[in-house]
């Protein structure tokens, strides 16, 4: 009887699901309106986001290639919201995308399998703040910081180690196999207090710095359990050209720490951090929304130094284009004023 009472009083805490939406963006938002979203089966989304950087590392152009794969027979209609400048079909697309001011329209029939691929130029002002990494290129090196961190609410419960151990085991099993873990939960006797916890994605980064002909390769992981900032320094005094690829990763380092020394409360915090890291990384695989919110997704972010958009060079133009140049206008104005003054003087003497 008393056991039943305890069981009735206990509550189940659900840890964040791998597909949990922890912040408003990503996916990138827009004011896209649609009648409905319609498809059959699952839709997989593969993204390649390319970020052109100015010599200091500031994003100047953001593009993405999205490949959607429909895996069932049937009609489809959906709009992928995006703050876009332009969109075109990518090689291999079975249909052309439709561009709206606030999104990409896909419509048609899938004969069983359909690949829809779009090359999208995004509005830099809207897309750049949502990018997962901040890159700073200095003389002789680069500094890559993780920009995915945010603070979320979590339960701070004094649970037994035995209660959390299966959750940690499942996390380690899934991460070891490079797959998403099943959602986890623990049972606690009473509603525990809440605390704020840092949610941050892990990114695997590899790239190259180019100093003229010399190349310096680098690789590393940034995020919880791994480095917070990846810094590459060389003896050179010039700013390198950069090309790096960052992919969302599972928090392997976080779970590698021996849990034997941690009590139940700390183990629960560890489970929270791991699930949040996974959810946050998954969010970035949907940098551009997929019509199937639970479909398989992947993404790679390519950052590369590119020439900044050519500045508008204002040069003096001769009048042969049919218009009057500023200089000609100025001369005419001066002559006009002089002539007017002369007329006034003449009139005064009449």
């Amino acid at each position: 009887m008393s056991g039943a009472l305890v069981a009735a009083a206990s509550i189940q805490i659900f840890l964040p699901a791998p597909t949990a939406q922890l912040s408003a963006q990503p996916p990138l938002r827009s004011l896209a309106q649609t009648l409905e979203t319609r498809y059959r089966g699952r839709i997989g989304s593969r993204l390649r986001v390319t970020v052109d950087l100015d010599p200091t590392g500031r994003p100047v152009v953001v593009r993405t290639e999205q490949r959607l794969t429909i895996s069932a027979l049937g009609d489809y209609f959906f709009v992928v919201p995006a703050p876009l400048v332009s969109v075109a079909a990518a090689p291999g697309s079975a249909a052309p995308p439709g561009q709206r001011a606030q999104g990409i329209v896909w419509q048609g029939f899938s004969p069983g399998r359909r690949t829809l691929a779009a090359l999208v130029r995004l509005r830099t002002g809207a897309a750049a703040p949502v990018l997962p990494l901040r890159v700073r290129i200095g003389r002789g090196g680069i500094r890559i910081a993780n920009a995915t961190a945010l603070s979320v609410l979590a339960y701070d419960a004094a649970v037994s180690r035995a209660e959390v151990a299966p959750v940690i085991k499942e996390l380690r099993r899934a991460v070891g196999r490079d797959e998403l873990p099943r959602p986890g939960s623990v049972v606690v006797p009473t509603t525990p207090p809440t605390t704020r916890i840092r949610a941050e994605a892990v990114f695997a980064v590899r790239g190259t710095l180019r100093f003229g002909q010399r190349r310096v390769r680098f690789a590393g992981r940034i995020g919880p359990g791994a480095k917070r900032v990846l810094t590459v320094r060389t003896g050179s005094r010039e700013r390198p050209k950069v090309e790096l690829v960052a992919t969302p990763a599972l928090p392997r380092e976080l779970l590698r720490a021996a849990p034997g020394r941690l009590d139940g409360r700390r183990l629960l915090a560890l489970a929270y951090r791991a699930y949040l890291a996974i959810a946050r990384a998954q969010q970035y695989t949907r940098f551009l929304a997929s019509p199937d919110p639970t479909g398989p997704t992947s993404a790679a972010f390519v950052y590369r130094t590119a020439p900044a958009p050519a500045a508008v060079v204002r040069t003096f133009r001769s009048g042969d284009d049919g218009g009057l140049s500023t200089l000609v206008v100025a001369v005419l104005v001066v002559l006009g004023v002089a002539a007017l003054s002369g007329l006034v003087v003449l009139w005064a003497h009449l």
Partner: protein, 410 residues
């Protein structure tokens, strides 16, 4: 003396502004939609387009007109006959511009010339019959839209359907504009499979007999005929092949469902059996109900389009209002775009069309985008085969196999 005059002026001004406000009553206006189609030359096509637009307009007018701001607009539909002449089509568009038309619903003849005139006046043109690839180009012709299967989509779907069957196809087209556009699309569609083409042959439009051309195709060891041309050409080729005892499979574009083809073969109904054509699907995954609902409203307003032939059971055959469906859908997209633009004419309406989607007659979404002014996507092209003077979707194509048979008898 001055003060009373000022007072009078003030009273008159107040009265005038009060009259302008209208005491809350809506202002009335007229929104003109011009149907530019060959009513005298191919009346079936012209009337179908006009009926579709009229049906949508009537729905708006019965509901009190199209509300834009503080005004309500009655929709007026005007018919202009092109007689299949680009020159007359252009003259009609000039007249539509002079009359401040909101939009032109066009069969397609003469659009190569008329789009500029309409564009300068900010008038959108929507083609609802011809599928020529060059007719619609959002970059070069920003005011031209289309709701009809494109020749590109039809040709590629036909190639996609025929090539895996291992057929050696004789590609026949007539020398009409429709036939020439179709031939160009077929050339592109079969470009990667030249081994599937037995022969390419142009035939004269309106010939009394296509026997010699069919014989050439037979001698080229063709195992299928694909005829792209006017309905009379398709009927003539079918007649020539069957009368010579050649039971070759024959394929065609949407023109094959024109009543003329069946009327031409009415004396030999079995000759029509097996003729397969590509067209835009009339129903979507939602099922046939949205289409039947439209067909019932169409029949109630204009009566059913009788083909003029009967089934073997003696039932008269009626034509599904496919062309009218496209015209009706465009009119609805236009009215939604006008509401969105909050004005009844000009570039704002053209831009709003690119951002508007409505539920189409077949249950699918109909709309356009900045980069795509085609309202029928290539994926929507299906295949149907004639049997006993009516047609039904084929079962050996993934899309067609999912579609229901549309009722074609009263």
């Amino acid at each position: 003396m001055r003060r009373p005059a000022l007072f009078l002026l003030l009273v008159v001004s107040l009265a005038a502004s009060a009259a302008g406000c209208g005491g809350g009553s809506k202002q009335r206006g007229t929104l003109l939609v011009v149907v530019n189609a060959p009513f005298s030359q191919t009346p079936y096509v012209g009337n179908a387009i006009a009926h579709g637009v009229n049906l949508a307009a009537n729905q708006v007018n019965v509901a009190g007109g199209l509300p834009i701001g503080n005004a309500s607009y009655h929709v007026r539909v005007e018919r202009r006959d092109t007689a299949l002449s680009p020159r007359r089509a252009l003259a009609n568009v000039r007249r539509a511009v002079a009359e401040d038309a909101t939009a032109i619903v066009d069969e397609g003849t003469g659009v190569d010339a008329s789009w500029r005139v309409a564009d300068a006046a900010g008038i959108p043109i929507c083609i609802v019959y011809q599928g020529g690839t060059g007719l619609v180009d959002p970059a070069k012709r920003p005011n031209v839209f289309r709701i009809a299967p494109t020749d590109h989509g039809l040709a590629f779907r036909l190639a996609e359907y025929l090539v895996p069957k291992g057929r050696r196809v004789a590609l026949l087209h007539d020398d009409s504009g429709y036939g020439a556009e179709g031939a160009a699309a077929l050339d592109r569609a079969f470009a990667h499979n030249p081994e599937s083409v037995a022969l390419r042959l142009a035939v004269p439009t309106g010939s009394l007999s296509y026997g010699p051309q069919v014989l050439r195709a037979r001698r080229a060891h063709a195992t299928a005929l694909l005829v792209w041309g006017q309905p009379a050409t398709i009927g003539g080729v079918v007649s020539a092949a069957r009368s010579s005892g050649w039971n070759v499979p024959i394929y065609a574009p949407p023109a094959a469902q024109d009543p003329v083809v069946r009327q031409e073969l009415a004396a030999h109904p079995s000759w029509l059996d097996g003729l397969t054509f590509a067209s835009g699907r009339l129903t979507a995954e939602l099922g046939p109900q949205p289409y039947y609902s439209f067909a019932a409203r169409y029949a109630s307003a204009f009566g059913q389009d009788r083909v003029g032939v009967k089934t073997s059971a003696g039932l008269p055959v009626v034509q599904p209002p496919e062309i009218a469906m496209y015209a009706y859908d465009f009119a609805n997209v236009l009215f939604a775009a006008v509401r969105r633009a909050r004005t009844i004419r000009g570039d704002k309406v053209v831009k709003a069309l690119e951002e508007t989607t409505v539920r189409g007659t077949n249950g699918d979404e109909r709309g356009f985008s900045i980069t795509n002014h085609e309202g029928v996507v290539d994926d929507d092209v299906y295949f149907a085969r004639f049997q006993d003077m009516t047609f039904r979707p084929v079962t050996d194509d993934p899309l067609s196999a999912t579609l229901p048979v549309i009722k074609q008898t009263p």
